[in-house]
C-alpha cells in the first residue's frame, strides 16, 4: 500500500513541476534556517569544550544587592572573598573552579598590536574544566601559593605572539610589561562562553589589585562541581541556605541575591532575569513565539498550495470515492504523500544547511565559534520536518475528504 502511495506521490510531483518547486523551496529553506538556528542554540546550550561536566555543575555568576523600598539595584560579578569565605565551606562542593572575568590588555610584537584577554584562575579551575593542553601543563596549587609569574596561553595567542614556533613552553610572554613564563598551551575557547574564554590564564595570587578584599561584589565567578549528578539539587539547596546567613554589607541595601544555577538558567537569568526570577519563562516564551511566527508563514503558504493541488486532483478523488475508498484512507494517503514531499524538502534542506554551516565556519563571524551538524541537531530537524509535514497536510486532507463525489466527478 505504502509503495503505491509512494509511486502516486512521485507521479504527482513530476506532473506539476512548478508547484513542486514552490513547495520544496519553502520547506527546504525553512528547515535550513531552523537547522542552522538549532545548531547555534545547541552550540550555546549543550556541554561544550572545555565545560563538559555541566550535568554535575552549578554556576555562580552574579551578586545582586537591592534596596526594596527605593528600588535601587546594584549588580556585578561575585567577589573572591565571597567564594573563598562562604561558598568553599559548603559540604556538597567537591571542587570549585574560580576565575576572574576577562580583562583586556595589549602586547606589542614586531610593531604589531595584539589584544590579549586575560583571566586569573585557581588551581581547581584546570581540574573542573577540561582544557585540552597541546603542550605543557597547568599551574599547581604550590605555584599559586608561591605567586609564581607563570601563564597558560591559548593556541591563538601562541600563534599571534610566537608565530610558527613549534614549542613555546619555557618562553616568556610580555603583557603589561611583565614577563610571564609560559607553562602550557590550551585550545581556543568559543567567545560565547563568557566565563571560560580567554587568551592568557594567570594564577590569582599575582593579580594586580587586591583580590581578597572583603565584600560581596567583585570580578569573579565560579563553577561548583557536585560529587555526583544526584548531589546537584542538594548542593543548590545548601547554597540557598547559606545565602540566608550571608550578612548584608551595607545599610543602603536590604536584600541580597546570589544563586548557584544550572547552566541554562544562569544564561536566562543574565539575559532576562534578576535576583528573584530566573528569566527562564521569558526567554523560552519569546523564543517559542518567534519560532511559531517564523513557521506560520511558510505553513500557510504550503497549506494554500496543497489545497490548490488537491482541488486539481478532484477527478481522481471522485473516482476513488465512487469505488468505495473511505475518507480515512484518502486522508491517510494524502498525509503520507505530504510527508514524502516534506522529507524530500528535508533532504534538500539538510544539504543546504551543510553548505550554510560550512560557509559560516569559513568566515567565522564570532571568534572560535564553529558550528557543526550533530545528532541532536539532526533529531530536532527531523521533528521539525514531521511537524511541518503534518501541519501543512492535515487541513488540506480534511478539506479533500469532504469533497462531494458527484461534484468532483462532474467538474471534469
Amino acid at each position: 500500500m505504502l509503495k503505491n502511495y509512494f509511486k502516486i506521490a512521485i507521479a504527482v510531483l513530476k506532473r506539476r513541476r512548478f508547484f513542486t518547486f514552490i513547495s520544496l523551496f519553502g520547506i527546504s529553506f525553512t528547515l535550513t534556517i531552523l537547522m542552522v538556528g538549532t545548531a547555534f542554540l545547541d552550540k550555546v546550550i549543550s556541554p561544550d569544550y572545555p565545560d563538559y561536566k555541566r550535568a554535575r555543575s552549578l554556576y555562580v555568576t552574579t551578586m545582586e544587592l537591592k534596596n526594596s523600598k527605593e528600588g535601587w539595584l546594584n549588580r556585578s560579578d561575585v567577589s573572591f572573598y565571597f567564594l573563598d569565605h562562604y561558598v568553599s565551606t559548603l559540604k556538597n562542593v567537591e571542587m570549585m573552579a574560580i576565575s576572574s572575568n576577562a580583562r583586556t590588555s595589549n602586547a606589542y610584537v614586531n610593531n604589531q598590536k595584539i589584544v590579549i584577554e586575560y583571566k586569573y584562575t585557581n588551581a581547581d579551575y584546570w581540574k573542573v574544566l577540561e582544557y585540552a593542553f597541546s603542550e605543557g601543563k597547568p599551574y599547581t596549587q604550590q605555584q599559586i601559593d608561591n605567586a609564581e609569574q607563570v601563564a597558560v596561553i591559548s593556541e591563538q595567542t601562541k600563534k599571534e605572539y610566537f608565530g610558527d614556533a613549534p614549542t613555546v613552553v619555557g618562553k616568556y610572554i610580555s603583557a603589561d610589561n611583565i614577563n610571564y613564563r609560559v607553562i602550557g598551551v590550551v585550545g581556543n575557547v568559543a567567545k560565547t562562553l563568557l566565563s571560560f574564554a580567554g587568551d592568557l590564564y594567570l594564577p590569582y595570587t599575582i593579580a594586580k589589585d587586591d583580590y581578597n578584599k572583603p565584600g560581596l561584589m567583585g570580578g569573579f565567578n565560579a563553577v561548583l562541581l557536585a560529587k555526583s549528578k544526584a548531589d546537584v539539587p542538594k548542593l543548590k539547596k545548601e547554597f540557598d541556605q547559606m545565602m540566608k546567613k550571608v550578612p548584608l554589607p551595607d545599610k543602603e541595601f536590604d536584600e541580597v541575591y546570589c544563586h548557584a544555577d544550572y547552566f541554562f538558567t544562569s544564561m536566562t537569568r543574565r539575559i532576562a532575569g534578576d535576583g528573584k526570577n530566573t528569566g527562564m519563562s521569558v526567554v523560552v516564551g519569546l523564543l517559542s513565539i518567534f519560532v511559531f511566527l517564523f513557521l506560520l508563514l511558510p505553513t500557510i503558504n504550503l497549506v494554500n498550495i496543497n489545497i490548490t493541488r488537491i482541488l486539481e486532483r478532484s477527478s481522481e478523488i471522485g473516482v476513488r470515492k465512487a469505488f468505495g475508498a473511505s475518507s480515512k484512507t484518502l486522508v491517510y494517503q494524502f498525509i503520507v504523500e505530504n510527508l514524502i514531499l516534506t522529507f524530500l524538502g528535508g533532504v534538500i534542506g539538510l544539504c543546504l544547511s551543510v553548505l550554510v554551516i560550512y560557509w559560516y565556519n569559513d568566515i567565522e563571524p564570532i571568534e572560535n565559534v564553529y558550528l557543526k551538524l550533530n545528532f541532536t541537531v539532526l533529531f530536532y530537524s527531523f521533528i521539525a520536518c514531521l511537524f511541518f509535514g503534518l501541519l501543512s497536510g492535515v487541513y488540506p486532507a480534511w478539506r479533500m475528504s469532504k469533497l462531494n463525489v458527484v461534484k468532483a466527478l462532474k467538474a471534469q
Binding site: Q112, K113, L297, N304, L311
Partner: protein, 394 residues
C-alpha cells in the same frame, strides 16, 4: 466594478481566507523590517556631532593610585603635560568611562520647573573634551577653569535636551535642577547632538558635567587626539610610558575608529540576518501567491471565456483579475494596519511615531507591489484565453 469584485471574493470566502491570512502575516513581517530600517536610517542621516578619527583611549585600573586629592591633582596634571609634550599627541582629556563608543552608559534625570526629564545621559568631561572630540558648540561656550568657582555647577547640554526643555528659547544662563531638584545647575553651553552609541542610534538627552577635583579618583581613562604620523611604534612607546606611570596597573590602548566599527556591527549584523530571513519569507510568499493565482485562473477558464465572448477585451479581463487580487490584499492590509497603528498610538518602544507611519506606508506599498507583480503574469495569461476554446471545454 468594485462592488462586483467584492461579490466574487465573498462567494469564495473560504478559499480566500488562507490567501488573506498569508498576506496579513507577511505584511506584519515587512512592517517590522521597515520599522527597523526607517529607525536606523533616520538616525544614520543625522550628523555624528563629533570626530572619532585619530582619537585613542588609554584605559587603566586606578585602584593603586593615591587617594589623596592634592597629590592626584599633581599626578594628573603632570601626566597631561608629559603626554602633550609628545609630538604625536595633539590634545589630551580626562573623562568618565561613558565616552563615545565605549560600552558604558550612565544616566540620570533632571528637573525643570518640577517637570522631570528621564534617561538623560550623564557625561563627565574636562576643559579639553571638546577639542579632542571636535564637538560643535551651537551656543554658549565649553567649560573653562574659572567654572570651578561659582554658586551653581556649570553644565553643557545637547540640542535634544535643549529643545525638549526650552523649545526655541535660549538655554544659556538658565538653571536646571538635578534628579531631586535640590542642587541647581547652570547651563553655559549647548552642543550639537553627539551620537555616542553608534551611527544607527539616537543621541538622546545629554548633560555634560564639568570634571572637578573630587572626580579625579574615579577616572579610568585618558583620551588623546594623535597626529597623522602616530604609528604602531609610537603606540608601543606610549604603552611603555603609561605602564611606567601606572605601576601595577593594566593598560589598554584602543582606537576609536575600531570601537566604532564593533559598535556598529552589533546593530548591523542582526539586521542583516533579520533581512535575509524576511527576504526568504517574502520569496516564499511571492511564489505561493503566484502559484495560487495561476491555478485559480486556470480554474475559471469558463467564466473568462464567457466574458471574452460577450465583448470584454483581453486587457479588461487581465485588469479584472489583477484588481481582484489587489482588493483581496486591501482587505488584509486594513486588518494589518489596525494592528500596526497600535504601535504609534500606544507609543511602544519609545520610538518617534513618524518611524511607524513611514514603515507602515512602505509596507503597504511593498505588499501592493508584490501582489501586483504576482498577479501580472497569470492575468496576462488569462487575457490570452480564446473564448471558443474555453467555452468548448465547458
Amino acid at each position: 466594478m468594485l462592488k462586483h469584485l467584492f461579490k466574487l471574493i465573498w462567494n469564495k470566502r473560504k478559499q480566500n481566507f488562507l490567501f488573506l491570512s498569508e498576506i496579513l502575516v507577511s505584511f506584519l513581517v515587512i512592517f517590522a523590517v521597515f520599522s527597523f530600517l526607517t529607525f536606523y536610517y533616520q538616525n544614520y542621516t543625522k550628523p555624528l556631532g563629533f570626530d572619532y578619527e585619530r582619537v585613542w583611549t588609554i584605559n587603566y585600573d586606578n585602584g593603586r593610585l593615591t587617594k589623596n586629592n592634592d597629590s592626584l591633582q599633581t599626578f594628573y596634571s603632570n601626566l597631561r603635560n608629559s603626554l602633550k609634550a609628545m609630538p604625536q599627541i595633539e590634545e589630551v582629556t580626562y573623562a568618565s568611562a561613558n565616552f563615545p563608543y565605549s560600552n558604558s552608559t550612565m544616566s540620570t534625570a533632571v528637573k525643570k520647573n518640577g517637570k522631570r526629564f528621564d534617561r538623560v545621559n550623564f557625561y563627565t568631561a574636562d576643559e579639553n573634551y571638546d577639542k579632542v572630540w571636535n564637538v560643535k558648540l551651537l551656543s554658549g561656550r565649553w567649560f573653562k577653569p574659572e567654572d570651578a568657582v561659582g554658586k551653581n555647577k556649570s553644565i553643557v547640554i545637547n540640542e535634544t535636551l535643549k529643545t525638549a526643555m526650552f523649545g526655541n528659547g535660549s538655554a544659556i544662563g538658565q538653571l536646571i535642577g538635578d534628579y531631586e531638584d535640590k542642587a541647581k545647575m547652570k547651563v553655559i553651553g549647548v552642543v550639537q547632538d553627539v551620537k555616542t552609541s553608534g551611527d544607527y542610534w539616537p543621541a538622546g538627552n545629554a548633560v555634560f558635567n564639568r570634571l572637578d577635583t573630587g572626580y579625579l579618583k574615579d577616572i579610568r581613562n585618558v583620551l588623546i587626539k594623535v597626529s597623522t604620523d602616530a604609528d604602531a611604534t609610537f603606540e608601543s612607546n606610549l604603552y611603555k610610558f603609561m605602564t611606567n606611570n601606572f605601576k601595577n596597573s593594566t593598560i589598554e590602548i584602543g582606537h576609536l575608529s575600531e570601537m566604532r566599527d564593533s559598535k556598529n556591527e552589533v546593530t548591523v549584523i542582526p539586521m542583516i540576518i533579520f533581512m535575509i530571513i524576511a527576504a526568504f519569507l517574502v520569496i516564499n510568499v511571492a511564489l505561493g501567491l503566484f502559484g495560487v493565482l495561476w491555478y485559480n485562473i486556470n480554474q475559471r477558464k469558463g467564466e473568462i471565456g464567457l466574458r471574452r465572448a460577450i465583448g470584454a477585451s483581453g486587457n479588461n479581463v487581465s485588469s479584472q483579475l489583477i484588481l481582484e487580487a489587489l482588493v483581496l490584499a486591501t482587505l488584509s492590509l486594513v486588518v494589518g494596519c489596525f494592528f500596526a497603528v497600535q504601535f504609534p498610538l500606544l507609543s511602544v518602544f519609545d520610538v518617534p511615531s513618524s518611524v511607524y507611519v513611514i514603515a507602515m506606508l512602505l509596507a503597504v506599498a511593498f505588499i501592493y507591489l508584490l501582489v501586483f507583480a504576482c498577479a501580472l503574469y497569470p492575468g496576462k495569461q488569462a487575457s490570452g484565453i480564446h473564448p471558443a476554446i474555453a467555452l468548448h471545454e465547458e
